[in-house]
Subunit: 630 residues, 2 copies
């Protein structure tokens, strides 16, 4: 063997060691970013662009107006255009925002937002250039006084820096906003749960303030219009909460602070630490409030961390979060699915690694859902629907880990429960921990799985109560069916025999069943006012005990001279919900009268059914019953 | 409103835009790297370090000798020590290898290895400093002539660069190798599938050339010894295969090549393109072989890509891959589980995004596996066991998507099949596409899922054949039970009546059942040689047709003067498998004789049962039957 082969093997191996740019890394591992198949590449691109548009509009306080257009290009490629009316991006930032991975504005902020990582849209640019070899075209305009700017961009992957192919001003009709045009190997699919259409539909449900227009490759146009003009409360940026902070992180904060004394450091570096709490923490840690925080050792940091645990500190504030709210989840499920039963549940805020989060869940049961199949799971994180990797998600694991038999629900195979229902899970957090950069599944962090489990279990108990009643109800219904089928026939026969009109037998049914009877009548006003009607809602309690309930009448316009006036009026999108609190003794009855000016005869006849909230369905005749709305 | 608020919102938002270092990114998203819980943090750390050790030893051609030691430290932290006898790392490289994310030697190489991303071990260092605030201690030595070097390292996360706290030579007893000592918030769990013990056990099964010693926190020591001294064939580095290359990648290759003519560019940039194929491709693309590749346009690149598809190009070579082999999978399953039936299957190499890959699967059925539970799935990628994220893995999805009822196997809930079996899936590839940097689950790439599905389906068919026979077998067994229970009792009774020894009734059973009867006898040699025995294996065919089979006798030592000599001798770890090919006419018998020098009486009495390969269990009396070994 020759002399030089005697050099250590390590030296030979060392020659191959080198730095990998983050763009090269993702060029090779693009599936991590959600680009592992042609249909998914399209959805991921649309999702990243729309997330950015929604975030930007909310930050600027604009009602989002978004266009998503998919065109066929050569070689079976697709061109994807996403356009928004957001605040635009200043010219100097555009190349980095779109063509540099790990560049963004929301990474360091402790505040709920859809985008967090500064990867999303540049990942789409990267995938576009790998597959189509083309540059991405951007137009952005910051206000009507400034011309729009046009860019053509690619990513120099070995450096992870933008490569600018063209940069010039351009004409654009929008006064402000951003437009991305991107070509890639992708495919447009329809009629699947995992599709652009379904993604936008789910997005519209939980972002009712957004208007999204989709133009499909065949030119077909779909509008997801906004249901409200109210922009959700902007989540505020907060300081980290002392609970859940880790030793290394605390040491780093101590080392880099500008504060020269420990107590002010604590007050101004953490949320929920005031003057007094800061003193208490220092005392519990056995450290002087005047100590220079930058001089503290690792041992001191350990003491501080233990003092955080010993000292009573208020729970994290939630104004950095923007949950969907149980109300909107209820309405979303109700709007989307025609079902027999809806329940929702929301947990109090909790903390993972210093990040506050809130879990909200909902269930919609019955209707047309298949009875012998797995329940559907709808997952959302910071108002973004999660379409892929259901099996990898903490939400799924939490649902699977519940023993559903205790709630009377079957669970063959021990996984996702079976039955005619959908479970919705939403996590809102300043930092949603995803299993990968493609942001498809929530990571299996214990406290998060626990919180989801607790929320879903609460819903499980509600389902059990509901399903328990179904047995009694079934028997009652059989009785009712006989009565409601027999009585009308008898009534008809008797009427024809005695030569009279067929009587209304609903009161008789209610009487036999011991129910609450609701009836509504509407009389037209003078001919000169075809849109004026006088409506009366009558209720009579045929039961043997007092009944308390809320009477809802939803209408698209305001009512006049109500008697008695409603207890509450709620604006629901373009409608109003008029609500009367009613208490009715056994055998008693009441009438609620009002005038409606703004609906024609046809509209009056097809107006929403009266809803009785607070009574079971089997106890109400002539109206829709809902056990509890919220 | 004041004047200055009139500035575009975009300018306000631009101030927050900034670069994110990859270390900062993972500091915030450590769960992506597999650090989302205390038990998992430990397993991930051990896994990353052991993967590196195995890769380094194989690269250097050393038989791996690895120590994994877990000690309890203060504050419920754990200290993790991993030590190997690998080639070591040169001093200058140590800081970057351990304390810079995205730094490594295997990222750009098209060759199968465990580590690929240059993230793993630095991720553990990052997690260690976040949770324990301590530095990581490294010792490495490249050969006996050079002293070992000691480092204490942390990561400067804002720059993603190593921060060296200490660097000096040190004494170390190993002539070459590397030792990492790392402290972190972690927990050691036992008796779970997801544990250090199970990870090392699985690793040992498919890396039979490795010796791994585990010292648990309580001081308990476990040795996973090597079963073979043969280092697996080193996977070779290859050029990318033209199939599956993408347009953007091809354009990048054209742009950056040193070749000045197209044909040589093709020959030396791709595997499986020779002189003639290069010419054919150029012709199919309508491009001159002499063209400068760097001058080609995007349109030319599209033509080349289409020409790749039209031209006949050989399948990718597989010497860049190092599959486990069906043989080792069979032995691994057999060693690990005591079962009734084993089958294996391997696919031909396929390509995803230009990367060759091979799928190998195995199934072990029966034994003590629970009958009413989900089948176990064991997943491996490049010889590394995958313990987490089973629900997210392409292997699981492929198994779930199969209609198992067609193979007579139940599948309640439509997911993972139920029954007493384990399915092993291995993917070997130059680039295993994982769903995230924690490398727990194979991404759902269509061609990979298809290949897994096809391999598992082949196994499903084998299981169906096996299970089909079980019905017949069951009836035969009932008959056999009666015979084997009745005959001995009758024999006993008759023997005692006539005052003789109880006769051996196995031949009678074989006779009645029409079986192959196998019997073995061993006679001691002279007293002066207590370890010498003369063994004879007798076989008699009681059936009505000729039988062909292989007779196996596994022994821990060599045999002498065999008559007839075995057809094949296979070295199996420390044992030898002596195999005779036998063809036996109906009613015929044969005897195989040999001497064994090296086993005492006790060892002779407890030696391995004779195995008959190629006959069904119900057709053999007096030996173990295996339908097919491979």
């Amino acid at each position: 063997m020759e002399e030089f082969t005697q050099a250590p093997i390590a030296e030979e191996l060392a020659k191959r060691q080198k730095s990998i740019s983050v763009a090269e890394f993702f060029e090779k591992n693009r599936h991590i970013l959600g680009f592992d198949s042609a249909p998914r590449a399209l959805i991921t691109t649309v999702k990243e662009a729309v997330d950015n548009s929604l975030d930007a509009c909310e930050e600027a306080g604009y009602l989002p107006d978004i266009l998503v257009q998919i065109n066929r290009a050569e070689n079976d490629y697709l061109t994807i255009i996403i356009e928004d009316n957001g605040p635009g991006i200043v010219k100097e930032q555009i190349p980095k925002v779109f063509a540099k991975l790990l560049y963004g504005s929301r990474f360091h902020a402790l505040r709920q937002s859809r985008g967090q990582q500064g990867i999303g849209i540049s990942a789409a640019v990267l995938y576009s250039q790998i597959t189509s070899g083309k540059s991405t075209k951007i137009i952005s305009r910051v206000d009507h006084k400034t011309p729009a700017h046009y860019f053509e961009l690619m990513i120099d992957t070995s450096a992870n820096e933008p490569s600018v192919l063209e940069s010039r001003t351009t004409d654009w009709e929008r006064p402000h906003g951003t437009r991305v045009e991107i070509e890639m190997a992708a495919s447009y699919v329809k009629g699947r749960k995992q599709s652009v259409y379904e993604y936008l539909k789910s997005t519209a449900i939980i972002n009712p303030h957004a208007r999204i227009r989709l133009i499909e490759p065949d030119g077909n146009e779909i509008l997801f219009d906004r249901a409200t003009d109210v922009i959700p409360a902007q989540a505020e940026e907060v300081l980290p909460h002392p609970h859940g902070i880790e030793l290394g992180t605390l040491m780093k904060m101590l080392q880099h602070t500008d504060r020269q004394k420990l107590a002010p450091f604590l007050r101004y570096s953490f949320s929920k630490i005031g003057l007094q709490t800061a003193d208490e923490i220092c005392e519990a840690a056995g450290l002087d409030t005047e100590t220079d925080p930058r001089a503290l050792t690792r041992t001191d940091a350990v003491k501080l961390l233990n003092a955080f645990k010993k000292t009573k500190i208020m729970a994290p504030s939630t104004n950095c979060l923007s949950p969907i709210t149980e109300d909107l989840i209820y309405r979303g499920l109700k709007k989307e699915f025609s079902v027999d039963f809806i329940a929702t549940s929301a947990r109090k805020p909790a903390i993972h690694s210093g990040n506050p989060f809130v879990i909200e869940v909902g269930v919609a049961y019955g209707g047309n859902f298949p009875k012998e199949e797995k329940a559907q799971i709808m997952r959302f994180a910071n108002r973004v629907p999660l379409l892929y990797q259901q099996g990898a998600c903490a939400a799924t694991h939490a649902i699977e880990s519940i023993k559903w038999k205790q709630y009377g629900i079957s669970q063959p195979g021990g996984g996702v429960p079976f039955g005619p229902f959908v479970i919705l899970v939403h996590i809102a957090s300043t930092n949603v921990p995803f299993t990968s950069e493609s942001k498809d599944a929530i990571a299996g962090i214990d406290i998060i799985e626990e919180e989801i489990q607790l929320a879903v279990k609460e819903i499980g108990r509600k389902m059990k109560t509901y399903l328990g009643k179904q047995d009694d109800l079934k028997k009652r219904r059989e009785k009712e069916v006989i009565i409601t089928k027999l009585l009308p026939q008898m009534a008809k026969k008797v009427a024809s025999m005695v030569g009279k009109d067929v009587p209304d037998i609903q009161p008789a049914v209610a009487n036999i069943m011991g129910n609450l009877l609701v009836s509504r009548s509407a009389d037209a006003g003078p001919d000169s006012q075809p849109n004026l009607h006088y409506v009366s809602l009558s209720v009579r309690n045929y039961g043997t005990a007092q009944r308390k309930f809320k009477l809802h009448q939803i209408l698209p316009c305001e009512i006049k001279s109500p008697s008695p006036p409603p207890s509450l009026i709620v604006s629901v999108g373009v409608n109003y919900d008029y609500i009367w609190d009613v208490t009715l003794a056994a055998g008693a009855s009441k009438v609620f009268r009002f005038a409606v000016d703004g609906m024609d005869d046809n509209e009056i006849q097809t107006m929403d059914e009266v809803i009785v909230e607070g009574l079971d369905e089997e106890d109400v005749t002539g109206a829709k019953a809902l056990t509890e709305l919220f």
